[in-house]
């Protein structure tokens, strides 16, 4: 039975500017070469709820229509005269429709009826009319490439005389079917086929382990009335739990490493244990020995936690969401942000307050003009979609996006990398308990909170653990609903402070199977009653309910005595809570549907039964040499080109579409200065309005250097993140006894498939060797600076395969760092502050142009990769902290892409100052002095009255370069010759008008008709 379907259409009144229509017409012409003529955009709402004609009309005119802007049409598809074609964009069944739900909310208010907002009664769509008569194929193309995504949208197109409507009709009837899957007695070939057909992403050895387990417990299962073969749900749970995404099998593998050049061999007994966990334990030991006991929780929860002060904890997590972003960039990115936000929210007991987001994105060249592979999205489209996803995910969550980075490299054209970071603050005590602890006892109830379950996101965990190809599944795509999550977040904050929740975890990859599977390890088992799980629509099988990754959900452990109060609070705050079972201590994960067993799994086997991988790595130094470049380079021109290059140019058009100051606590934003165009190093955010304590946030990522040496790439990325924080005034940790100066680092490895296969992955050993070297550098860096890792993630299969071609990302690691700032008022921004301040270079420059942006201009890689000299770097950073205490530094900008020349130019962008600079004489070439990307260096300015103290303090580590000038002219001399002479306004113009701002477009008022 269903009620009659009614339609409400909103059209702009004649004379109102149709910005959306105009943008579509322009984009169709620019990107697709399609001439649409004028485009009229209209909104449709299909109402499947019994309303009278009068109610429908009044609802439309009073609630949906903006009387100033809109006309309303009921039960018709109205358009202005002169249009010939139409495109209808609807959503596929189960796809998040926040607009429809909002309309439904409004209908409930309007009718004053308690209209259940969790079942969809109103469906939103867009209906476009095109002036020109376009063939079906062109309309489809326009729809699929500009207006929507066929993974999530249903399109109807054609001539305007034949408008077809579409409203999602979810499948009917519950499907409480649990099948068994024949496993016992299968051959190796059959096991592999089974894994591939069902997207288990398990290899032969793992499939064998499952088969052997079931063979060994056959009698036991029979006695318990269970089938001998596993159920579909059991295999799905095992596949999710054992996925690379959840289990990090390659980071736990035994690796046999060989250096082909020296013949040296050694074994790594788990990368994670050797280079990450043990390294952090050693750092923690040194910290504690020196009275610094702020490291509270590392690696064992959704996010790491460090202590800010006796009252509060800082919680920090960065994750990637790469595979989904390759298929549906918008949905992938928004889900990535919301999912990552759930990690700090569900750390310990739960209910942290989110403080900021930071995002690092890696894309292919958005100006790519070649032929795309099957199902490969154009890098520009991925870029725009991800950007929009972050805008909606961050802004609508009320979390400021305080900084980030965008890295371009053609090898990200298959799979982009989308790193999402979230910082949060949590009280040390919640309702009298240690907030960071997770405790569960048998009989505690399992509560699912937040969104409902649909087929969206089934197989996300396994899907992200395999390489993408042209047949990648649509069900792996999800779209986050920021508003649903915001409600759940507000609820968690209150419920945890009232002591109603014992602990919480988020439902991310693997859905309930992962979240309950993990929580159940605390008590030692769980019983889940799947028939109680609220669904978006009927038609899901039990196993689908259990592994679905539908978003915005948390699993909570609740004491039975607190349940009523919790449910009442949920009702008050309009967050759906469902009691779906209880924890046990019998060692089994027991999943049921209407009392029938769906899965009955031994927890020990589930979590410990995965066979360990043994992998091979072989390293040889890549052949590389320094190029011979023309000797008569015009350095002013080179600098200008560098500033306009893809990896250096301004990201302002992206940054300004992110809210970077909601909450009112952002002190150093991504762009500062009177112009609002001076790029900064680290962001600084204060914790609250009562003290001046804050946190600095930075990101280090340098994939280019990995082509020369992955060790130095990783060390350099770590140093880059450290020096950005030092640049804004952060101090290294553990410099004095009990200084309480916390640092918290997330490491995120994103590498191509690094498992050797003679046919499929012939250079797998070399790739794995790069990963080993990246990890070695990480260990050395943490030890050198005494900076601990608190959480991290690895993404191991970043390859895109189609039409027989494979695009693999370069081995990439991102270090996302946070450090305590004692007083945000004493932080330092990068832009020059006053004329006649003296300009210094801090740190040593080497002939290290290898992998530089400078060489990139000439399509050269070079050989001399920049290396981090940890001891010297640490000494310099320590001196800088002391200098800042004395207020000696007026501006400070770290040197990275483009070297000294670019840093000098950027420092002038804040106000229109210039600089007059003389490069020191010596052996180092002008080119190297200007453009070498040697690490651990800064450009700093000093007030004239502080020069003596400054030079005394830094000694030989500071090189006096010149002074800030009021004339807006950047002049660099060397040996009496002027090597760079440019107007800083012109340089800023080059930088601002670079490819990123051109592609995303500058904001400007559109011409109204």
């Amino acid at each position: 039975m269903e009620s009659t379907q009614r339609t409400i259409q909103l059209l702009l009144k004649p004379g109102q500017h149709d910005g959306e229509g105009q943008r579509i017409a322009e984009a169709a012409q620019r990107h697709l070469g399609l001439h649409t003529g004028r485009v009229q955009s209209t909104a449709l709402y299909t109402v499947r709820y019994p309303v009278t004609d009068e109610q429908l009309r009044d609802f439309a005119t009073h609630c949906l229509q903006d009387p100033v802007l809109h006309d309303v049409a009921l039960d018709e598809f109205r358009h202005d005269p002169g249009y010939k074609s139409y495109i209808l964009v609807a959503k596929l069944p189960g796809v998040t429709d926040d607009e429809g739900i909002s309309a439904q909310n409004a209908l409930g208010d309007f009718l004053n009826q308690p209209l259940d907002t969790h079942t969809q009664h109103i469906f939103s769509k867009r209906l476009y009319f095109l002036e020109h008569e376009l063939p079906e194929s062109s309309l489809r193309r326009l729809a699929e490439e500009l207006l929507g995504n066929k993974m999530i949208n249903r399109f109807e197109t054609g001539p305007i005389t034949l408008i077809r409507d579409y409203t999602p009709r979810p499948g009917g009837g519950a499907e409480s079917i649990t099948d068994t899957v024949r496993l016992l007695g299968l051959s190796d070939e059959e096991l592999i086929k089974l894994s591939k057909d069902n997207l288990y992403a398990l290899n032969l050895e793992e499939m064998r382990a499952v088969r052997d387990h079931y063979t060994s417990i056959a009698a036991e299962r029979q006695a318990a009335g269970l089938p001998q073969d596993p159920t579909d749900c059991e295999l799905e749970i095992i596949a999710q739990t054992w996925s690379e995404h959840c289990k990090h099998k390659e980071f736990s593998a035994l690796i046999k490493y060989k250096d082909a050049d020296t013949g040296e061999t050694f074994e790594v007994d788990s990368l994670f244990k050797t280079y990450i966990k043990d390294a952090t334990s050693e750092v923690d030991r040194q910290l504690r020995a020196n009275g610094n006991d702020w490291l509270i929780k590392v690696f064992s929860d959704n996010a790491g936690a460090v202590r800010i002060n006796p009252e509060s904890l800082f919680v920090w997590k960065v994750e990637t969401h790469n595979s989904p972003s390759a298929i549906d960039p918008y949905g992938g990115a928004i889900t990535g942000i919301l999912g990552n936000n759930r990690d700090p929210l569900a750390t310990g007991i739960g209910g942290a307050r989110l403080l900021f987001n930071t995002n690092v994105l890696c894309f292919g060249n958005p100006e790519f003009s070649g032929t795309l592979l099957s199902n490969q999205l154009h890098p520009r489209r991925i870029f725009e979609g991800v950007r929009k996803g972050i805008e909606d995910g961050g802004n609508k969550s009320g979390v400021p996006t305080v900084n980030g980075a965008i890295v371009f490299d053609d090898r990200y054209a298959g799979k982009p990398l989308v790193y999402c970071g979230t910082g949060a603050v949590m009280p040390m005590q919640l309702a009298g308990l240690d907030s960071w602890e997770k405790k569960i006892d048998a009989q505690d109830r399992i509560i699912m909170a937040g969104g409902r379950v649909g087929k969206d996101g089934i197989h996300g965990a396994t899907f992200s653990s395999i390489e993408l190809d042209e047949t990648s599944p649509a069900t792996a795509v999800q779209i986050g609903s920021p508003i649903t999550q915001k409600l759940a977040m507000d609820f968690l904050i209150l419920a945890t402070r009232r002591g109603l929740i014992k602990c919480s975890t988020d439902n991310g990859a693997g859905g309930l199977s992962s979240s309950i599977g993990e929580l159940a390890t605390i008590s030692g088992g769980a019983v889940v009653e799947l028939e109680k799980v609220p669904l978006k629509y009927p038609g899901l099988r039990p196993w689908e309910i259990f592994v679905s990754e539908s978003q915005e959900r948390f699993s909570l452990a609740v004491e039975p005595a607190k349940l009523d109060e919790l449910l009442a609070l949920g009702q008050e705050m309009e967050v759906e809570l469902t009691d779906i079972g209880y924890f046990t201590s019998d060692g089994f994960l027991d999943v049921r549907f209407d009392g029938e067993s769906v899965a009955h799994l031994n927890m020990h086997f589930l979590h410990e039964g995965v066979p360990r991988k043994v992998l091979e790595a072989e390293w040889s130094i890549p052949q590389a040499q320094e190029p011979a470049l023309p000797t008569d380079l015009d350095y002013t021109d080179v600098l200008s080109r560098l500033l306009g290059s893809l990896n250096i140019c301004s990201r302002e058009s992206v940054i300004r579409q992110y809210d970077h100051e909601v909450k009112g606590r952002t002190i150093i934003k991504p762009l500062m200065g009177a112009t609002g165009q001076a790029p900064q190093d680290a962001a600084v955010v204060r914790f609250n309005f009562e003290s001046w304590e804050g946190v600095a946030v930075s990101n280090g990522i340098l994939p280019r250097f990995g082509d020369l040496d992955a060790y130095h790439m990783s060390a350099g990325a770590f140093d880059e993140a450290v020096r950005q924080i030092v640049a804004v005034g952060g101090k290294l940790p553990n410099l004095s006894y009990g200084d309480g100066n916390f640092w918290s680092v997330n490491d995120n490895f994103c590498v191509p498939d690094s498992v050797y296969d003679p046919i499929g992955n012939p250079d797998g050993k070399q790739k794995l060797a790069k990963l080993v070297r990246m990890c070695q550098a990480l260990r050395d860096a943490t030890a050198a600076y005494c900076i601990p890792l608190t959480s991290g993630k690895d993404s191991m299969k970043n390859d895109f395969k189609a039409d027989g071609v494979k695009i693999s990302v370069p081995p990439t690691v991102l270090y996302s760092m946070t450090a305590k700032i004692e007083d945000v008022r004493r932080t330092i921004t990068s832009d020059f502050k006053q004329a006649d301040d003296v300009v210094y270079l801090l740190g040593e420059t080497y002939d290290e142009l290898g992998g530089s942006e400078f060489y990139q201009l000439f399509n050269e890689l070079g050989a001399n990769v920049p290396q981090v000299r940890f001891e010297e770097a640490k000494a310099l950073y320590t001196l800088m902290g002391q200098a800042n205490d004395q207020g000696l530094i007026q501006s400070c900008h770290d040197l990275s892409d483009g070297g000294l020349a670019v840093a000098l130019a950027e420092a002038t962008f804040g106000y229109g100052f210039g600089a007059d600079v003389e490069l020191p004489a010596g052996d180092l070439s002008v080119t190297a002095q200007l453009f070498s990307e040697s690490h651990s260096r800064f450009v700093a300015t000093v007030a004239p009255e502080d020069v003596v103290a400054f030079e005394q303090h830094f000694g030989a580590r500071a090189t006096r370069l010149g002074r800030v000038t009021p004339d807006g002219q950047l002049t660099v001399r060397h040996g009496g010759q002027t090597v760079v002479s440019a107007s800083t306004a012109a340089l800023r113009h080059e930088w601002t008008n670079g490819p990123v701002n051109r592609i995303i477009g500058f904001g400007q008022h559109e011409a109204a008709h």
């Binding site: 926040d98 300004r656 921004t829």
Partner: protein, 344 residues
Amino acid sequence: MNEKPLFPDLNVPPQPQRDETGPAHTNADGTVTVLGYKSIDGGHESSEPLQGNYQPKQKVQALILTGFGINCEEEYAAAYRMAGAEATIVHLNQVLHGHVSIHDYDILNFPGGFSFGDDLGSGVVLANKLRYRKNAEGRTLLDDIREFVANGKFVMGICNGFQVLVKLGLLPNLSGNVTPEVTLTHNASGRYEDRWVRLKVNPESNSPFLKGIDTMEVPVRHGEGRLIIKGEETLAEIEVRALNCLAYTDFDGSPTDVYPHNPNGADLNCAGLTDTTGQVFGLMPHPEAFLSLYNHPDWARRKRQNPHLSEEGDGLKLFRNIVEHVQSQRQTAVTPQEARQFSS
């Protein structure tokens, strides 16, 4: 007056951040009464339950609504606290369900954010809820707000809150019967933007919020901030009565329609409106995001130029104004203001 410094000195240890809320009461038939929670600092609630009944209070009382996607309530509360008022953050449902009465407060505040996701147009669903959703007594919150304003009290909306007041018809409310007369729609640039702008206060404005302020710098952070005024008459009346209380200006301080100084292409270059009484005030930019000097993008250079520069941000003046105004009203009032008891 012995005033506490607003920003404790470095040498003063930070106050403990109490981060608890009062218990909810569940009565016999299972319905829960969620007591309100008071903001004692930015986003941290005390365990002190709300007063159920009106009592004369020393401090000016600001009520700040949150929930359903509103997200600027913490800095809003901080603003009032710095201005010397007491700020209480409550979930919208606490007001809608009658657990908290707006009449116990002096200033009702609608913060920024994305109420209900803003998917139908900014502020639409929330405005709709206030207009149509009836409580057990058959009253809508709009009924209460009209009474609140009639009692001489104040309503302020920032960004999404401004959008709500406009969609609700409380601004500019020329007719007096609370029907939408203007609207706020997509920026002329077609995009959401976060950038700092300069505002000029209309010297003719009668609103106590703006008294003594000439110009201010504040960030805008919106995608739908373009004010559109329907009809020449409405436009003329708004201008004549100086309800267009804030204008976007260029660097010289002249109102401008040039992007990006005017970030959205608003009619009359208008960034904020009041109603005819001046008691209801809304604006697109975020004064609550400029409470301290260190929010400004150019703070470091300005501080270098003038080491004695005030550590207060421009936005705080607005809140000081209204708090002082309410205080002065109280002093001049012979009898305490009549407080409407929320009848049951």
